[in-house]
Every structure is written in C-alpha cells, then in structure tokens.
Subunit: 222 residues, 2 copies
C-alpha cells in the first residue's frame, strides 16, 4: 500500500538553505574537515546520540543529505574523530612500547610530561572521548578491524597491567593518568579563570609527587 504522495510536509522540515557560505574546494579547510569540526563541537555539547545530522547540516549551512556525500554513515563521523585522537597518541606510542618492553618505570615521568602537553592542546577531543565513551565503545565493536591492537586505550591498559611493574607503581601511574585527563580536560568549569599553561604546570608538579619522582632538593627516604 503506497503512502499518499502528498507533497510539502514530512514532519521533518527541510532547511531553506539560506546561510550557505562559499568555501574552498579541497584542502585543510575542506567541507569534510568543517563537518568534523562542527561535529566535534556538537558531540561535546550535546552528546553523539542527541546530535542529529540535521543539527550538523544546519550549522554547516547545508542539508542533511549533503553530509552523505562526505560520510556514508553517521558513525563514520564519530570514527574519524576517534582516529584524530589515535593520531595524537602515535607520538607517545614509542615511549609506551619502550615501557612495555624494557619495563623501566623511570621512563614514565617523561611520558607524563608529553601527555600533559597533548591534553592541553586537545582538550575538546579529550572531552568528546570521555563524554561519549558509550558511543565510542559500540564503534569499536563494529569496526574491530582497526581498533584492536590499534587503540590507545588498549595500549595504556597493557602497560598498566604489566606484571613486571609493582602493583603500587601501576596504581600510581593510573592515578596520574586519570588526574591529568580529569583535571585538565574538565578543569574549565573550576579553573576557568586560570591560564591553562599555569594549570598544566601545577598538575605536572602534583603528579610528580604522585609518582614519587625525586626532586633535586629532596632526599629519597624509603
């Protein structure tokens, strides 16, 4: 039974396409990148599920259907943002591998320093990650291809589970990571008036105590 071919309304109002701005063809600020930037912002503000493709298209100044030229599915947008996060951790990858291999826990502080910088520079991406952990999880369920030995979280987990490192130290490492991410990424609500660099430095010093890193003028009494 075909539905009434009545034109005009669908319950889903199509935009009048009034705010279409011109844009460069293909480059760093390509439409694809703009979609990702807008999606990142909306996913942080409203969450992945509550952000409809219509929301994204509206801010972009186009229509829902146009998005499907750039991304096959909505999930692919989220996947692409997830890959941005992975790209970030690539640098830390070698250090992590060294840790996993040589088991030298003294390399950890350097890694922490690096991590703090990256969290500061990519707060929005981190926020997106922790506010949409559920949506991201079912992403890796679908696309297990890339996200198995590839996932940064999985990599961290493997290091933090390494039996060669004493449990106490591993707990301190985990506390460091959660403190860094939690304080620097979500910190805006609390330390909004403090420059982020100052905040990062304070976290750096605090975490040093957490990891029991001996400072120059401090005796290492067991």
């Amino acid at each position: 039974m075909p539905p009434p071919p009545q034109a005009g309304l669908d319950g889903e109002p199509q935009q009048t396409a009034a705010a279409a701005q011109p844009h460069t063809g293909t480059g760093a600020g390509s439409t694809r990148e703009r979609i990702l930037d807008i999606a990142l912002e909306l996913f942080v503000e409203q969450g992945y599920e509550k952000t409809s493709l219509r929301d994204i298209a509206e801010q972009l100044g186009t229509t829902k259907a146009a998005l499907y030229y750039h991304f096959e599915r909505k999930q692919d947008i989220l996947l692409e943002l997830h890959l941005r996060l992975h790209a970030l951790g690539r640098d830390a990858f070698e250090e992590l591998a060294r840790l996993e291999d040589g088991q030298r826990a003294d390399a950890w502080p350097a890694l922490v320093d690096h991590l703090i910088d990256q969290v500061v520079e990519n707060r929005e991406l981190i926020l997106m990650h922790q506010r949409n952990s559920n949506a991201l999880r079912e992403l890796t369920d679908t696309e297990r291809h890339r996200a198995e030995n590839d996932d940064i979280e999985e990599l961290f987990r493997r290091v933090l589970q390494s039996p060669a490192i004493p449990l106490e130290q591993r707990v301190r490492m985990t506390c460091s990571l959660t403190a860094i991410v939690g304080t620097l990424a979500t910190g805006d609500a609390i330390f909004g008036d403090v420059p982020i660099e100052e905040l990062a430095e304070l976290v750096r010093v605090a975490v040093r105590d957490l990891l029991r890193v001996p400072e120059p003028s401090r005796a290492t009494s067991s």
Copy 2:
C-alpha cells in the same frame, strides 16, 4: 486522514510476556526499585540513549507500557538514579560545608578517606554518572528545581573554587578527586584481578602523597 487500522504489526514487536516472575508488592524490593536496578545496569552497559524502555521491560519480564505506571517519563528513571547519587554525598555534605566555611584544608584528607569508601561501595552508580554525563546534564536543564544548590558536583566546584585556598592546593584536591573516581570506578578493566579493598588502600596512600599529607615517619622538608 486516519491510518489503516490494521492489527498485528507496528514495526515494534510486543513481547509475548512469557517470563513474568512474581514479585513482592511494595517494599525495598518493590517493582519500582527493581526497575531502577535494571536501568542502572543497562545505562552503564549501553548508555542511557541506547537503552530503550523495551530493553528494561524485557529484563523485568513485563512490557513497556507497564513501566509507565511507575515512571511518567523515561527521564524520570534517570533522575531517580541521579538522586541516589546525591543521597550518597549527603554524608560528605557537612564536611564539605566545614571546608567551605572554615577554609581549613587540613580537613580534606578525612573527606578523601570517606569519598574512597563511597566510591568503592557504589562503583556502578559512579560509572553510570560519568558514562552518561550528557544525558544527566540535560536532565538538570529540565529540572532545575531540585538540581541547583542541590547538586553534589556544584558543591564540590564551589569548594574547589574557594579563593581562600591556595591555587596549588586546589589543583591537588581536584587531581585527588579525579584520580580516586577514575582509578577506582573504571579500574575494573585494568585491575580486575586485584581485590577492590587492596586497590582502594593503594589509592589512599598515593593520594596522600598528592595532597602532601605528612606521614608519621617522614620529614616535612619544604
């Protein structure tokens, strides 16, 4: 134009109601409480948005419509779970108020001890909170009535913003909170084989270093 009153299918298959178990009438294990317990579990596993009322009803052994006798809207289930979390923090409320009032940062370690216990005892509730922060946020937007001066998070924020406490100390406090919640609530994936009490004790000791709490056998060299 009325739709065809065709019976049978709606695209939404109704359950055959085969697994209806008997239950006590009204008490601690009432239907309402069972709904909340099931919802808590599902919200942690799948997230709030991905958990349909049909999912909850299925596990309960009833139908979707039955849930509406106990809760007017889906959001009310989430709200009730949020209130459970608030009830937890009520105990810590007085200590927090003392901190806010007297500004004595030395009361903080005791509060941390209390917090660790509560996080351990209510991991699932904490997990639900941090995995559904988006859904919870739009909850407080709607029901601003209860959740203004009432919110635990807001209370913590106020303390952590208190200008009477040095910035460095406030950062260390924030790191402590995020480390405790992050490590103990999410820790299952990493420290699944370690007894939670042992883990809690290790976190307790580590956080003590983070807060620079002088231990008995340790000199306080600035």
